[in-house]
């Protein structure tokens, strides 16, 4: 009797697993969102606790340290204002030249700040979750970046949260351009090391690519997801692959993916 019950439970779990794994994609996504929604109170509690910690730390910071930091930020702000003026003048000039040549002008980027609320619990994927969702206008495949460079793209989106697939995950590929005289192009396709999330592989480079360590890599804008010119990182080393047909390089990402706290979602 006891043995029979054991096998009934085993069979039930087996059947349930097969059913859940074979559910249609849309239903699975909705089910995932619903289950993830159960964690909303814990998100709130964690965020409130984090805020409390930050407030406590702010209260403990000595006044002279705050004054010093304020002075540093004031100076930095003034410098950035001057740079902005210069950039605005260059942008205006660029737009005028585009108009004269009849080229299509690029729309300015719209950015939304998001907080990273959860990290991937499984070791074999590279994703994080942010606190913006469908109600904030997010949709799949929007680029996500930090001031240092590209981070990844938006994956699944729920009403209040979204999954960001980070660079280095096999599901996040980016068309890249090496800023060298030959302007070699390739694809960032996967992480280069499991334990070092800052290294990714830049594949499908021409075998005649003129590469050197330290060259900057940016998005080429050819994949249709990421706009051109977003910094990706710098080349660390390179080697010939596929019997010398292609060159593959390792790129050190500009953005620190293991310490993400705030990211910007780009609406191109």
């Amino acid at each position: 009797m006891f043995k029979k019950k054991q096998y009934v439970v085993l069979g039930a779990v087996l059947v349930l697993t097969l059913i859940v794994l074979n559910l249609p994609g849309g239903l699975t996504a909705r089910l995932k969102q619903a289950l993830g929604g159960l964690y909303l109170p814990l998100f709130g509690a964690a965020s409130a606790t984090g805020q409390l910690g930050k407030n406590a730390a702010a209260n403990l910071t000595p006044r002279n340290e705050l004054v010093r930091q304020n002075e540093v930020f004031r100076r930095e702000n003034a410098e950035l204002r001057l740079r902005l003026l210069q950039a605005e003048a260059a942008t205006r000039e660029n737009a005028r030249l585009h108009q004269l040549l009849g080229w299509q002008t690029r729309a300015p980027w719209k950015l939304k700040l998001a907080n990273v609320v959860l990290r991937e619990p499984a070791n074999w994927w590279r994703t994080v979750q942010i606190d913006l969702g469908r109600r904030d206008g997010l949709r799949e495949n929007l680029p996500v970046l930090t001031p240092d460079g590209l981070v990844g793209r938006i994956g699944a989106v729920s009403l209040t949260r979204a999954q960001v697939i980070l660079l280095g995950d096999p599901a996040c590929r980016a068309a890249a351009l090496v800023q060298n005289p030959a302007r070699d192009q390739g694809i960032i396709n996967a992480g280069a090391a499991v334990l070092d999330p800052s290294l990714v592989n830049l594949g499908f480079l021409s075998r005649n690519a003129i590469l050197a360590p330290g060259q900057n890599v940016v998005t080429s804008g050819q994949g249709g997801i990421f706009p051109a010119g977003i910094p990706l990182g710098t080349i660390v080393d390179f080697r010939a692959v596929e019997f010398g047909l292609y060159t593959e390089a390792r790129v050190k990402l500009a953005a620190n993916l293991s310490a993400l706290e705030e990211v910007w979602v780009l609406f191109p």
Binding site: V9, L21, P121, W124
Partner: protein, 182 residues
Amino acid sequence: MNPINTILILLAAFVAVFLQAACGTRGSLGAQIDLLPALVVYASLTGGLTTVALLAVGGGLAFDALSANPLGISMLPLFGIGFLIHRQREFILRDQLFAQFILGLAASAAAPLLTLLLLFTGGHAPFVGWGTLWQWLVMSLGGGLVTPVMFRLFAFIRGAFFYRPLTETSFRPDRQIRRGRF
């Protein structure tokens, strides 16, 4: 069987998955320690098979919901481990620290391997490499160390919420030897 124990285990699984996602060990150790196999060991040694099944289904679904895993992929490995331990529970010295550690180690080593096997069988392409061996080692050792902690934690909670069973004394008045003066 006490349903409160099952509820406590399910609640612990819910919180464990959140903790794994909210404050991970990946930054410091290079791998995220999985708490669910340790919970499965505890559930299979102290609860019924239904509790193990509920934990595997609930915990697995919660884990997959917060992860990029396909939904439901973690359920079967967790239940498989729980099922095997539950079948052999009569032969396991569940109160021994060493037994708890070894069982946690074995369960935490088997769960990611089985999940990866299912992922590859399903045609998915998880990111694995030589570094995965280190992650597997950290997950196994971490799971082994967490399992006795889990037993102590639940013992504490049970002590706080339930009455302790009265221990019967070996004294029996009908067998008392009445001695005379000599």
